[in-house]
C-alpha cells in the first residue's frame, strides 16, 4: 500500500505541471490577462462573484483564469479565498431604489416613471453567430442621449401606493439578520436565510426550478414587475470613524416578480411578490431567484406544498454548487478499502448462493 502512495505523489506533481501547461494552452497564442477576462468575459466574472459570494472583479477573473474557464471550479476557488480574510462587519442594507440605473425594464407597465431603459442587453438580438467577432476590430462608439434626472422608482413602490401589492416584511431590528456562513442552516429557515442561500445558489439549478414552476410544478403566475441593473452605493458603519463611511459602489441586478393575488375574509386581495438580487449583471439568475423565492413562500401564503420548487429543505440543501460538486466529485477519490469490503461481501454472498442452489448454477453456466 505504501508503494502506491509514493508513486501517487510523483504522479500528482506531474499531473499539476501538466495542468498548468494545459491551462496555458498553445504558447504561441498570447496569454489572457485578468483585465481581458474582467472586461470581455464580464458576465462570467459576475456569475463567479455572485455564486462565489464575494464581490471582487479581479479575484473572480483570476479564479476563471486558474480554473481554465470552469466557472464552478472558479466559484470554489473564490469561496476558499474568502475564508482567508477577516470580516470587518456588515454593510448598511443597500438602497436599490437609489440605483444609478444602467438597465431597467418592466413587463407589467409600459409607461413607468423614469421609462423603460434597455441598457446593454442580449434581448432582441437575433442569436445569429457574428463572424465579424472572429476578426479583431472595435465596435462603433455607443449612442448618447440627454440623461434625465427623473427618479426611477421601483414598480413595486408604485403598486404599493395603491395597496395593490403586499408589503415587504419589515423586521423591527436589522441586527438579527441570519447568516448561513456563520450558523448551519436549519429548517424551517427565515426568508432572510432563504434569500442568502438563493443569492449564492447555482444559476442552472435555480433556472430549472423557476422553469418548473412555470410549467405547473408549483405555479404562481409571475409577471416580471421590474428588472433593474446598475450601480448602488455601499455604506459601512465604521466604529473607528464613528459614522457610516462610503465604500464605493457595486453593480447589482434586482428582479421584482409580481405574482398571483391573495386575499382573505379580512384582507382585500393583493398581488404577492418574489424577490431576486445578484452581483453584477446577472439577469437570468435574479429572475430565477425571484421565482424560487416566491415558490418557497407557498406555506406562508396558504398554498399546497407539493412541487420540488416549494420544498424548502430540498431547494436550499441542493442549491449550492460548491457543496454539490464536492459531494459528487468526491466519488473520484480512492474508496479502495470501502470497495474491498463490498467486494468481499459480494463474493461471500455469491458463494453462499451457489452452495444453496447448485442446480441454478449449472443452468446459468
Amino acid at each position: 500500500m505504501y508503494v502506491a502512495v509514493k508513486g501517487g505523489e510523483r504522479a500528482i506533481d506531474n499531473a499539476h505541471r501538466l495542468l498548468a501547461d494545459a491551462r496555458r494552452g498553445n504558447r504561441d497564442v498570447p496569454e489572457l490577462t485578468l483585465d481581458q477576462i474582467s472586461e470581455q468575459l464580464a458576465l462570467g466574472v459576475d456569475r463567479v462573484m455572485s455564486e462565489g459570494s464575494l464581490y471582487d472583479r479581479e479575484l473572480a477573473a483570476l479564479a476563471i483564469k486558474q480554473a481554465r474557464g470552469d466557472l464552478i471550479e472558479a466559484i470554489f476557488l473564490v469561496r476558499a479565498f474568502r475564508a482567508t480574510l477577516p470580516r470587518f462587519g456588515s454593510s448598511e442594507p443597500v438602497d436599490t431604489g437609489a440605483m444609478a440605473v444602467r438597465r431597467r425594464i418592466s413587463s407589467t407597465f409600459k409607461d413607468i416613471p423614469g421609462g423603460q431603459i434597455l441598457g446593454p442587453t442580449f434581448d432582441y438580438t437575433h442569436r445569429l453567430l457574428d463572424p465579424q467577432l472572429a476578426e479583431s476590430g472595435d465596435p462603433a462608439e455607443p449612442a448618447t442621449a440627454e440623461a434625465s434626472d427623473a427618479p426611477t422608482p421601483r414598480v413595486t413602490d408604485i403598486l404599493r401606493q395603491d395597496g395593490l401589492i403586499e408589503e415587504s416584511p419589515v423586521a423591527e431590528d436589522d441586527s438579527a439578520v441570519g447568516d448561513l456562513t456563520r450558523e448551519p442552516l436549519n429548517f424551517p429557515a427565515g426568508r432572510d436565510l432563504r434569500l442568502q442561500n438563493l443569492a449564492r445558489a447555482d444559476e442552472g439549478f435555480l433556472l430549472a426550478l423557476g422553469y418548473s414552476t412555470q410549467r405547473g410544478y408549483g405555479r404562481n403566475h409571475p409577471f416580471a414587475g421590474e428588472i433593474r441593473f446598475g450601480d448602488v452605493e455601499v455604506f459601512f458603519e465604521a466604529e473607528d470613524a464613528g459614522f457610516a463611511v462610503p465604500l464605493g459602489s457595486v453593480a447589482l441586478t434586482e428582479c421584482q416578480m409580481v405574482n398571483q393575488f391573495k386575499g382573505s375574509a379580512t384582507e382585500a386581495p393583493r398581488f404577492t411578490r418574489g424577490y431576486g438580487l445578484a452581483f453584477g449583471q446577472s439577469e437570468r439568475k435574479a429572475m430565477s431567484m425571484a421565482l424560487v423565492d416566491r415558490a418557497l413562500r407557498a406555506q406562508e401564503l396558504g398554498e399546497d406544498v407539493k412541487a420540488p420548487a416549494q420544498d424548502e429543505e430540498f431547494v436550499l440543501s441542493h442549491s449550492d454548487n460548491v457543496q454539490a460538486t464536492g459531494f459528487v466529485e468526491h466519488l473520484k477519490l480512492p474508496h479502495y478499502v470501502d470497495f474491498q469490503s463490498e467486494l468481499g461481501l459480494l463474493r461471500k454472498l455469491r458463494a453462499e448462493f451457489n452452495q444453496d442452489q447448485p442446480e441454478l448454477r449449472e443452468a446459468a453456466e
Binding site: F88, A143, S168, D192, G248, R273
Partner: protein, 159 residues
C-alpha cells in the same frame, strides 16, 4: 448619499457630511489619480494608526428592496487609519484589496480636518477628482439614456 441626508446642520454634522462626501469621491477614484493629486500638495508626515489591511464586509440588501435586511454576499474591503503630526486622525475605507488606496483616503480624510490643509485638499484633490468621477458617470448615464424606449414616437409614427 440621499440615505444619510443630514437633518440638522450643527458644525460637527456639517464637517462629517463633508468628510463623507470626500470619501465617496475618493472611493470612486483610481489610486494613481489620488496619489498624483496628493503629491502636488506636498502632504505632511503622518503615522499609521492602523496598518492598511484587507478584509471582508458582508453586503446587505432588503427583502423586496424595501423590507427587512438579508445578507447578499461579501465584498473585499481595505482600510487604514493615519494620524498627522498635528494630531488629526483620518480613516480610509474602500471596496477592493488596494491597501495603498485605503491609506491615501485616510490621509486625505486627516488633511481635510486640518486647518492648514483643508482648503487645499478640497480644491486640489477632491474637487478635480469629483469632476472626473462625475464626467464618467455622466457619460455612462448618456449612453444609458440612448437606450430608453420612446413609446411616444412609436405612436406618433403610426398616426
Amino acid at each position: 448619499m440621499a440615505m444619510h441626508a443630514e437633518t440638522q446642520n450643527s458644525p460637527e454634522q456639517a464637517a462629517t457630511a463633508r468628510r463623507r462626501a470626500a470619501m465617496a469621491v475618493l472611493a470612486a477614484s483610481e489610486t494613481a489619480a489620488i496619489g498624483a493629486r496628493l503629491d502636488t500638495l506636498a502632504p505632511p508626515a503622518f503615522t499609521l494608526l492602523r496598518e492598511p489591511e484587507q478584509g471582508l464586509v458582508m453586503l446587505r440588501g432588503r427583502i423586496g428592496g424595501d423590507g427587512s435586511a438579508f445578507n447578499v454576499g461579501e465584498a473585499t474591503v481595505s482600510r487604514a487609519a493615519v494620524r498627522l503630526a498635528s494630531g488629526e486622525v483620518g480613516f480610509g475605507y474602500t471596496l477592493g484589496r488596494d491597501r495603498t488606496k485605503a491609506k491615501l483616503i485616510a490621509l486625505c480624510d486627516a488633511l481635510l480636518q486640518s486647518a492648514d490643509y483643508s482648503a487645499a485638499v478640497e480644491t486640489e484633490v477632491i474637487a478635480p477628482l469629483q469632476t472626473e468621477v462625475e464626467a464618467a458617470r455622466a457619460e455612462k448615464a448618456a449612453r444609458t439614456a440612448a437606450t430608453k424606449v420612446d413609446f411616444y414616437t412609436l405612436v406618433r409614427g403610426e398616426g
